[in-house]
């Protein structure tokens, strides 16, 4: 049943979503601030479980697209996320029963909440990545080969667009990215609508609850002066890859992505060992002695050793004391089709996925 999403969960969601962002996804700060502001104005959101959706319900899948730098100026405005949802309803001639996130990792975890607070629709406890990834073809809906159109896109100047048909997820990514760039590299989008049945079959379920659980574990550990990283690992069944300090960061942008690598020297139990993390917006592969230790789609999270706070690929820098943990990826991302879309080869690596959990 629909439960009111409590105000107290906003901060926990922000911490958890940032950790699930696996280095990317953009900081949730502005979205979190918006939701708090909406709650202060008396608005409320409701959270429903995907199991409560009827098979023929239609669900809006929302996200804010664009460059993190532009979002720092133009900010995040719930009005346009809500408008993207309404625009899609107008195009479809149907009403949505609920709203969900495309990406639980980073700021977009909040996008359905921001729209829902204005539209009085419930938010579904699910997303389509279970983490953050750079592009549309990285979603579980793309893995399920579901229909990738239509998409609605809204800019704050009454520029509204519908991408009514495309032949592939990659075309959808190219065209919607191009429109976004034209309107200033920031836009609110409502992706291809999903039926309740599709969400239940292909969505990654209960990820809002998961993010809040991670955030609460961190907050609680801080309150009682316990180790927040141990709390995260206990909560999620993750493993600690190593603890150490950042010794070098190398970044380049190619094709609009932030790529590069970060090097670490082990401390404590990992003393004397060297590790490398490679990233493409998100942390993708962890290497120890040049051998891949962990890799996408498993969630590689770089956390501040003291606070448990996530550290992004844009903000990692020399000298930071970090603990790198791996959280299990949703099963669907590790299917044959899943690995084709989000396994190491999808990001240009010449090796097959190997789980760090079965070693």
């Amino acid at each position: 049943m629909a439960e009111v999403f409590p105000k107290e969960s906003i901060d926990a969601l922000a911490i958890g979503a940032w950790i699930l962002g696996t280095g990317g996804g953009g900081s949730p700060y502005l979205a979190q601030l918006n939701l708090k502001h909406l709650y202060a104005q008396g608005k409320r959101c409701r959270l429903i479980q995907p199991e409560d959706l009827a098979d023929d319900d239609i669900v809006a899948v929302v996200s804010q697209m664009g460059a993190p730098l532009v979002a720092q100026e133009r900010l995040v405005d719930p009005t346009y996320l809500a408008r993207a949802v309404r625009l899609m309803e107008e195009y479809l001639g149907q009403r949505f029963a609920a709203i969900m996130a495309v990406e639980i990792g980073g700021g977009n975890a909040f996008s359905p909440f921001l729209a829902a607070a204005l539209l009085d629709l419930p938010v579904v406890d699910a997303d389509a990545m279970g983490r953050a990834f750079p592009e549309a073809q990285n979603t579980s809906f793309a893995i399920g080969n579901l229909k990738m159109y239509p998409l609605s896109l809204v800019d704050c100047r009454d520029n509204e667009a519908i991408v009514s048909k495309v032949p592939s997820w990659i075309w959808m990514e190219r065209i919607s990215r191009k429109i976004t760039t034209e309107v200033g590299s920031i836009a609110a989008t409502c992706k291809a609508p999903r039926t309740g049945a599709e969400v239940k079959e292909w969505g990654i379920l209960h990820t809002v609850t998961k993010a809040i659980g991670i955030g609460e574990a961190v907050l609680k550990a801080r309150r009682v002066h316990a180790n927040p990283i141990t709390s995260i690992l206990d909560q999620e069944g993750g493993i600690q890859l190593f603890a150490g300090k950042v010794t070098d960061v190398d970044r380049i942008t190619t094709g609009g992505f932030l790529r590069g690598s970060a090097q670490f020297a082990g401390l404590g139990e990992s003393q004397g060992q060297r590790f490398v993390l490679e990233f493409q917006n998100e942390w993708l592969v962890a290497l120890g002695n040049d051998e891949p230790l962990a890799m996408s789609p498993d969630l590689i999270c770089v956390l501040d050793t003291d606070s448990g706070e996530a550290i992004g690929t844009e903000t990692v820098r020399y000298g930071q004391r970090v603990t790198v943990v791996v959280l299990p990826s949703p099963d669907i991302l590790r299917t044959t089709q899943g690995l084709e879309n989000v396994g190491p080869r999808a990001f240009g690596y010449d090796f097959d996925y190997r789980s760090v959990f079965s070693q």
């Binding site: 730098l69 720092q72 100026e73 133009r74 100047r157 942008t253 903000t315 930071q320």
Partner: protein, 517 residues
């Protein structure tokens, strides 16, 4: 070329008189409640100690450089802040998060900003977002005049890249309310609307106290017999003529630690080093790059307000000469006896075990009465001091940019807590006059010019060259002698999801003051 440097701290007012790079006299007097008496006392004391002045007082001094914590204190204490108006030019974007949305409630109530949000601003590539709504700005100006508000912050979308909207809005406001003081966000902050707006709003709220403080300093100096130009130290380690500095009080935030770092650089002649400024309660660790403090590239909270502008990259740790040692837990700091150390530390006859007592017991320092710490177990003392060393080593390493060993300069009254050998440190340097390094840094300060801008569609070389030219022209405007300009910082960061190989470029240049310019 004689100069006086004065750094007004919370506890002490430190002052030095220098001739070129030679230190003629130094003073440490208690900061007085009215501040200015302390400044007069320190200045008079310096003049009396100058053998060459022959009692002729201030005539031989070419400039006075003042560093002050007044403005930071006003924000932290929510005192002496004036009511402001803020005009944000960004609609229809950014409407859901109005100015001041992320301020703590108490400071928001104190400043009580009158808020206007109007159409306009630019995109990152210089295109206008929508046409500027000039009528709305004029309407805002009339309401500002009616409310009797004297200070206005103007903030436009992407103004660090395109300043036109803020400048035009300022002209409109000034034409309607001629005597109003205006802060343009592009002159202070960086990309990041809320954080830049916060800086502009704080700066606007500090206009009255800025004016008042500069007037009072002027009066204090003339009381001490000095009528030469005086400058305020800024948080990048340079100075600005006081009249101009009064318009940008936010640039004085954190100027104290910055002055210490500049002093450390000047006293050692080192250009690249880590500085540990060990005080009574905290140690500020900073990093000198080309002789200047490295800037923070992240959000810094001032009195609970998130800001993103030119602030030194400082890592404060809770370790100082007065840090309290808890024998049960083995914890050292962050609690401290602070300025009460001369009463409360064991070696001064008190009852509280402090970090200073450990240093005296281990014969690393020699003050107070060593007999009073004789019964401390030497193994325990060594163990506890090792912990302070680990704290220093870890945090020094955090401030380094690579694993290579660096030189470390130890300054401040608690510098004895820094041992001669530290992991990751090539040499530990100590300097004479280390206790007034801040005043020396102030006295020797130069002027600077800075740019922080996104460049698109041009090569890296072209972007860097253009940025350097702009920074140099800004330094000349700030009063630098053109032939003395030196580029001290160049940083460029490629940006994700933006077309045309966009990169953010930050360049800073410094030069000597052009006297009489």
């Amino acid at each position: 070329m004689k100069r006086i440097g004065i750094d007004v701290g919370g506890t002490n007012t430190d002052a030095v008189l220098i001739d070129g790079t030679r230190i003629i006299a130094s003073m440490k007097v208690p900061t007085t409640a009215d501040v200015m008496t302390g400044v007069v006392n320190a200045t008079r004391g310096l003049m009396e100690r100058d053998p060459s002045s022959g009692g002729s007082r201030g005539q031989t001094v070419d400039a006075v450089m003042l560093g002050t914590t007044h403005f930071t204190n006003a924000v932290v204490e929510r005192a002496n802040l004036e009511r402001i108006a803020v005009i944000r030019i960004s609609l229809p974007a950014a409407a859901s998060l109005p100015p001041g949305v992320d301020w703590p409630a108490d400071i928001r109530e104190t400043v009580n900003p009158m808020i206007f949000m109007v159409d306009g601003g630019h995109e990152y590539d210089g295109r206008p977002l929508v046409p500027l709504d000039r009528k709305a700005i004029a309407k805002a100006a009339y309401r500002i005049a009616d409310a009797g508000i004297k200070s206005v912050a103007i903030v436009a979308l992407f103004s660090p890249l395109t300043t036109a909207c803020e400048e035009e809005a300022a002209d409109i406001v000034r034409s309607i309310v001629p005597d109003v003081r205006i802060t343009l966000s592009n002159t202070l902050g960086r990309i990041g609307l809320l954080e830049r707006e916060n800086v502009a709003m704080l700066n606007a709220a500090l206009q009255a106290i800025g004016r008042k403080t500069v007037d009072a300093f002027g009066k204090a100096l003339s009381e001490a017999g000095i009528d030469t130009p005086f400058y305020l130290t800024q948080n990048d380690g340079t100075v600005v003529i006081a009249e101009v500095a009064a318009q940008s009080p936010v640039y004085s935030f954190a100027s104290g630690p910055t002055n210490s770092m500049r002093g450390a650089a000047l006293l050692t002649g080192l250009q690249d080093a880590i500085v540990a400024d060990v005080g009574g309660t905290t140690t500020d660790i900073g990093c000198l790059v080309n002789g200047f403090p490295r800037e923070a590239n992240n959000i810094v909270e001032v009195g609970g307000v998130r800001t993103l502008f030119r602030m030194p990259d400082l890592l404060p740790i809770g370790l100082g000469g007065g840090s309290i040692v808890d024998l049960e837990t083995g914890r050292i700091g962050p609690r401290s006896v602070g300025y009460r150390i001369t009463d409360e530390a064991l070696v001064f006859g008190g009852t509280i075990l402090t970090a200073s007592d450990l240093a005296v017991a281990a014969e690393r320092a020699d003050f107070g009465d060593r007999r009073r710490v004789r019964k401390l177990d030497s193994g325990l003392v060594r163990h506890l001091l090792d912990r302070t060393v680990t704290m220093l080593e870890e945090n020094i390493d955090r401030m380094k940019t690579s694993a290579d060993p660096v030189d470390l300069i130890a300054v401040g009254g608690g510098a004895f807590l820094v041992p001669d050998k530290l992991a990751g440190v090539a040499r530990v340097l100590r300097v004479e006059h280390s206790d007034v390094a801040n005043a020396i840094g102030a006295a020797m300060a130069q002027v600077s010019g800075e740019i922080d801008q996104v460049f698109s569609g041009v090569s890296r070389d072209v972007a860097l060259a253009e940025a350097e030219n702009i920074a140099k022209s800004r330094a000349r405007e700030a009063g630098a002698r053109p032939d003395s300009l030196k580029t001290i910082e160049v940083e460029d960061i490629p940006l994700a999801y933006l077309p045309g190989g966009s990169r953010r470029v930050r360049v800073r240049v410094v030069g000597d003051i052009a006297y009489g310019a």
